[in-house]
């Protein structure tokens, strides 16, 4: 018996709030005796919730990239910046290292989230046990880096508060930044509603 037993086989449930190991009474709506949270073997409606949130996030991600996120104005001159043009500006202004960081946080991380969560949904739905270890690792990566996408939103907010020199120079936020902030929140909710245990539910091929 070298196999690693799973909770469902032993009739156990792990409470998602306090991590207590509980006996699975097969009762719908059973509560954790320690913290009172409702016990469930898997997050409820994980696939459909994750898919819905991911699609909503993607729809908001399009205007977030196409619309300008901030306007800089100085003595009659106006300049609208998108996420990409902000990255290019950093690169040109001699801070390529920061340009790479902003590019990663604002473009790579959201794209990675769409691709990884999309892949996890498709593989899960097909019941495939292909590359389970890699998929588990990808999921953890997405969970770990997800909220760093908020970087650009905070940069725009700070510049808005700082650059207030009336007609000489001022910065104001534009709708793109609102769409971007909402995209980040929705992708975070999407990765939270995905249940990583589903990766291993289609038969585990360990050892």
């Amino acid at each position: 018996m070298n196999r690693l037993p799973r909770a469902a086989e032993l009739g156990l449930i792990r409470c998602h709030v306090c991590a207590l190991v509980c006996r699975d009474n097969q009762v719908a709506g059973a509560a954790c005796p320690r913290c009172g949270a409702r016990l469930h073997r898997r997050k409820s409606a994980s696939y459909s919730r994750t898919a819905a949130l991911l699609i909503a996030a993607f729809l908001l991600y399009i205007p977030a990239n196409l619309l300008p996120i901030m306007r800089t104005a100085s003595i009659g001159e106006m300049d609208d910046n998108t996420i990409i043009s902000g990255v290019v500006e950093l690169w040109v202004k001699g801070a390529p290292d920061l340009a790479v960081i902003v590019f990663t946080a604002s473009i790579m991380v959201p794209m990675l989230k769409f691709l990884v969560l999309g892949l996890l949904l498709v593989c899960g739905k097909c019941g495939s046990n292909w590359a389970q270890h890699q998929r588990a690792r990808l999921y953890r990566l997405v969970e770990f880096v997800g909220y760093w996408s908020m970087l650009d939103v905070f940069v725009v907010a700070l510049l808005t508060a700082l650059v207030r020199f009336g007609v000489f120079s001022s910065v104001e936020p534009l709708p793109g930044v609102v769409f971007f902030g909402l995209t980040v929140v929705l992708t975070m909710l999407a990765s939270m509603s995905f249940d990583p245990r589903l990766i291993w539910d289609c038969g585990c091929d360990d050892e």
Binding site: L4, L10, G36, A105, R140, M150
Partner: protein, 205 residues
């Protein structure tokens, strides 16, 4: 059914594999053999240490919030910003959604987290659960992914570099408070506060 501390079994959060719990030595980390997720880690710091850490974080957090973060200069004019100045500016500039997001993830959630941590660690020093322990632990569980002070810290650096091309930029004490806060948050990130469920018991009346 009633599993008293320390629970003999452990279930991996990410793949549902069941393990028999073994006591960990100093600095040891137990990882899941199937998915490599961290099951449990040994804590160097006891409740006293964690309480001290929370108090330090609280002081630094207050400083990071009341001190200005950066000052810009243009033709002899000066303009500086604090966190709340930033939140209010976004509200006034018709980006209320961003303003609310920033207020929640940079002020209210971190503040709640520290106050609630302080509350549970204070009682945990004597192995007790304070009033409202259950509710507090549930709130802490749901707050966990929603604090972003470290992202804001990086945002400050990016904003400084962007502004440097047009203005004279002076870093104010708030930046250093934020840097210190980022370090403390990194330390806190390794703390699994759920172990408090195992190491504390309901207070005897």
């Amino acid at each position: 059914m009633d599993t008293m501390s320390p629970a003999p079994l452990l279930i991996c959060e990410h793949c549902d594999t069941v393990y028999r719990r073994i006591p960990l030595a100093r600095g040891q980390v137990a990882c899941c053999a199937r998915c490599q997720f961290v099951l449990e880690r040994h804590h160097r710091l006891g409740a006293d240490g964690l309480l001290a850490l929370t108090a330090t974080a609280m002081v630094v957090f207050i400083q990071a919030n009341i001190w200005p973060i950066v000052t810009l200069g243009l033709n002899g004019q000066q303009s500086s910003a604090t966190l709340w100045g930033t939140i209010i500016a976004m509200w006034q500039q018709h980006a209320q959604v961003v303003s609310v997001l920033a207020a929640a993830t940079l002020f209210f959630f971190p503040l709640m987290k520290m106050l609630l941590f302080g509350w549970v660690f204070w009682f945990a020093r004597r192995g007790e659960r304070g009033p409202g322990f259950r509710g507090v632990m549930i709130v802490l569980h749901y707050l966990r992914p929603w604090t972003m002070s470290e992202v804001f810290m990086l945002g400050v650096l990016v904003a400084i570099v962007k502004a440097r091309a047009y203005f004279e930029v002076t870093a104010d004490p708030g930046v250093f408070a934020y840097a210190a806060l980022t370090v403390l948050i990194t330390v806190f990130a390794g703390v699994d506060f759920r172990q408090l469920w195992d190491v504390t018991a309901e207070r005897k009346p």
